[in-house]
């Protein structure tokens, strides 16, 4: 088996001895000078004249690239490809991009630092450093400091190298030559295998994608499209009559509405106003009255409308004795069903608003027909409907 000359290594007892020897050995210019120490020695990289690590620059460039990538990517997605106004912000609001830009900058920078150091600068994967074949390595990993003149580069000469190290004070000195072939699984072999696997994965993935797309032997997954779903205005085999849309079940009550269930106004007389008389209810009633009733029945409910009577029908004077003696239920029926020329207000007033309007109407009636006992100083609770004092406006 052929041998390959790696270089000459000499051992020193102390780090100071090593540091003192380095300039002398470098001066000889016989080859690449490299130190092997059991622990990091301060100032060694400077003494060996090693160039500054390019890692900082690489990280800087990749960091900036990361920031730009994140910015352009988001700008393209949110501003050009699919602009969506979110939270009232312009689609290209740079403020929203900054957190992602920060993250991608850090991602690119740290990956460059980690992977760049391992694969680019430390040249991994790297098995079997030639020094591991030397006897000196046992001492170097324990307590000796090795200085090597390596054959690559420079005018390497074994005898001269041994002499130089000897005169620099190294004891003992060892010439290291290694078999040029060290086994079937080399770093190169591993690298090539990994690269091959990666390429095979990429090619087969890509090929599968296009094969399935161009020659659809199996129908593509389409669960989202085939759903036992009822579409509006479409026939459906699910129901007997073949319609997708069905009428509500008889007796269905819409949310927020109670069925009247009464055939005539006389029957409705038995209904009881469910709301208590409070300031809030009266306020709500006043609001609804002002929105819907006042145009015809007038602000005093006496049938003198706020709009001039361009409209033919004569609105009812609700201050009349007939209406003052009406039970609440009959007024409610009139609001829901309409009466004479008055249309139904069921669609405009909710259940609660109707009853609130009735309370308010009662207050108007009472205000127009006040008894001496209703004002301050009179008998509390004198009203026929048991309202508290001051509830009337």
């Amino acid at each position: 088996m052929s041998q390959h000359m790696f270089g000459v290594v000499g051992l020193f007892e102390s780090a100071d001895g090593l540091m003192a020897a380095i300039p002398k050995v470098r001066e000889a210019g016989l080859g690449k000078v490299e130190a092997y120490t059991p622990y990091p020695v301060h100032g060694l990289d400077k003494a060996l004249g090693q160039r500054r690590s390019p890692l900082g620059g690489m990280v800087m460039i990749m960091g900036v690239l990361g920031a730009l990538t994140a910015f352009l990517f988001q700008w393209w997605i949110s501003g050009i490809d699919y602009p969506i106004v979110t939270g009232g912000k312009a689609p290209t609001s740079w403020q929203a991009f900054v957190p992602i830009m920060f993250e991608v900058t850090v991602l690119f920078a740290t990956f460059t630092a980690g992977l760049g150091m391992l694969f680019f600068l430390n040249k991994l994967p790297f098995f079997g450093h030639p020094l591991l074949h030397a006897k000196a390595i046992a001492a170097i990993t324990r307590d000796r400091f090795g200085l090597a003149i390596e054959s690559e580069g420079g005018a390497f000469d074994v005898a001269a190298a041994v002499r130089t190290l000897e005169s620099a004070g190294a004891r003992p000195i060892e010439v290291i030559s290694v078999p040029s072939f060290s086994g079937p699984i080399t770093a190169k072999y591993l690298e090539r295998s990994l690269l091959g696997i990666a390429i095979a994965c990429a090619v087969s993935g890509y090929a599968t994608y296009w094969a399935v797309k161009l020659f659809p032997v199996l129908p593509p997954t389409s669960h989202m499209l085939v759903q036992p779903r009822l579409d509006p205005q479409k026939p459906s085999a699910f129901f007997k009559d073949g319609h997708g849309m069905q009428l509500p079940v008889p007796g269905t009550v819409a949310r927020g509405y109670l069925p009247l269930g009464l055939a005539s106004q006389e029957e409705a007389a038995t209904l009881v106003n469910p709301l208590a008389v409070t300031q809030k209810v009266l306020e709500e009633g006043r609001q609804a009255y002002m929105n819907h009733c006042v145009v015809c029945h007038g602000p005093l409910a006496n049938g003198v409308p706020t709009l001039s009577s361009a409209y033919g029908a004569k609105p009812a004077n609700l201050q009349a004795k007939q209406f003052r003696e009406y039970p609440d239920g009959k007024i409610y029926w009139a609001i829901v069903m309409g009466k004479n020329a008055m249309p139904s207000y069921a669609a405009d007033l909710s259940e609660e608003e109707r009853w609130a309007v009735i309370h308010y109407l009662r207050a108007l009636q009472r205000a127009q027909n006040a008894k001496p006992g209703d004002v301050d100083g009179g008998q509390p609770g004198a009203g026929s409907r048991g309202r508290t004092k001051g509830s009337a406006p």
Binding site: H42, G56, M60, G87, G88, Q95, A96
Partner: protein, 383 residues
């Protein structure tokens, strides 16, 4: 003392007197509101440097760091800026009825301010401030005073006491510095609130104190003092400065981003004032001098240990801190940034006065905590 140094002292005294004339003239000529805004800016500038220095000292005792022991005397001396800051704080209480809407009688009619009325009332704010000042003075007495005493006694017991005291002090520091941020700056616009604002002020405080420490260390080293302080120590200071420029920007942007996203009327008006018209220019400049320039200048490895670069970055950071306070305080005075002779004379007076104080403080005790048993370990520090 060499001759040029004495002449520097004389020049500083001259500038201080000149500035004082401008400061006194501001009140009648430019009006009380402008006087108090300027006063507030420079009071907070001094206070934050002092508090940040005390924080550095307490942090060192808490975590038991060794590398910073040779440098510790510098933040200790800077923390004595708290002594002039105490009367400044008491004077600043005069700004309460002028600049702070929460103390005015019409605040009672505002539903938002009425709820905060007691908290913002002059007596309660003043009580809180006096209590804070007392607590901080205890901090200076224990940490700085104890360390100066150790120069003579060489008693390692101080380190034990300081280590016990530091955690309690840091808890107090966090609470009281938040109070400073809320009471003196947020309360200028009491309807605005931001939970992170205390952290924002802390970031600026720590950065300003680090910058003052770095500048002082370089200054002393240039004069042949602080022998034994290596580039490695400076590198660590530089790394701290570098890291905390990023921290400040992170906090500042986080606060802005959330309020910008939410766009709530009760939050966003604060930024609308500060990002409108000429104030937008100030805000952008702040981003450049408080973040971009120091960040880029301190990125390279060698830059962090380079005395010259460290020095100008530190001075720039101090200027940026003053500008930060300016941007926080002055928009309440109007839509145009006020920058004229009153601001200039306040700056001249307080910078020259502060420098005179720091120069005198730099002669107190020995340049390194000679009695500290960890000093030799700190001097051996290498990266």
């Amino acid at each position: 003392m060499s001759v040029p140094q004495r002449s520097t002292g004389k020049a500083l005294w001259g500038l201080a007197v000149l500035g004082l004339a401008g400061v006194v003239a501001t009140y009648p000529v430019a009006g009380p509101a402008r006087f108090w805004a300027n006063w507030l800016l420079w009071f907070l500038f001094m206070l934050t440097i002092a508090m940040g220095s005390l924080f550095i000292v307490a942090l060192e005792h808490l975590v038991g760091s060794r590398w910073s022991v040779p440098l510790r005397r510098i933040p200790e001396r800077l923390s004595t800026l708290l002594l002039p800051a105490v009367p400044m704080a008491l004077v600043a209480l005069g700004a309460l009825p002028v600049l702070y809407p929460g103390t005015r009688p019409e605040a009672a009619h505002d539903p938002v301010l009425a709820g905060k009325a007691f908290w913002l009332s002059t007596p309660f704010v003043s009580t809180r401030m006096v209590l804070c000042l007392a607590l901080w003075l205890v901090g200076v007495a224990v940490l700085t005073g104890g360390s100066l005493r150790q120069d003579r006694t060489r008693d390692p017991g101080f380190n034990v006491n300081a280590r016990r005291f530091a955690p309690a002090f840091l808890a107090i520091f966090a609470l009281t510095l938040t109070l400073v941020a809320f009471d003196w700056i947020s309360a200028l616009e009491p309807k605005w609130y931001s939970d992170i604002f205390g952290v924002y002020l802390f970031a600026g405080t720590f950065l300003a104190a680090l910058a003052a420490t770095a500048a002082s260390v370089v200054y002393l080293k240039d004069r042949g003092r602080l022998e034994g302080v290596r580039p490695a120590h400076l590198y660590n200071l530089g790394a701290y400065l570098f890291a905390f420029t990023v921290f400040w920007s992170y906090i500042a942007f986080a606060q802005y981003l959330l309020m910008w996203y939410g766009d709530m009327p009760e939050e966003i008006f604060w930024y609308k004032e500060r990002l409108a018209g000429p104030w937008l220019g100030v805000a952008l400049l702040l981003g450049v001098v408080h973040f971009l320039i120091p960040f880029l200048a301190l990125i390279p490895r060698d830059a962090k240990g380079d005395t010259r670069r460290l020095c100008w970055v530190a001075v720039l950071m101090l200027a940026a801190h003053a500008m930060d306070l300016y941007w926080l305080i002055f928009p309440v005075l109007g839509r145009t940034p006020l920058l004229s002779w009153p601001e200039a004379s306040f700056a001249v007076f307080f910078v020259s006065g502060g420098l005179l104080w720091v120069r005198a403080a730099m002669e107190r005790g020995e340049d390194m905590p000679a009695g500290d048993p960890f000093l030799s370990e700190g001097l051996e520090f290498r990266l």
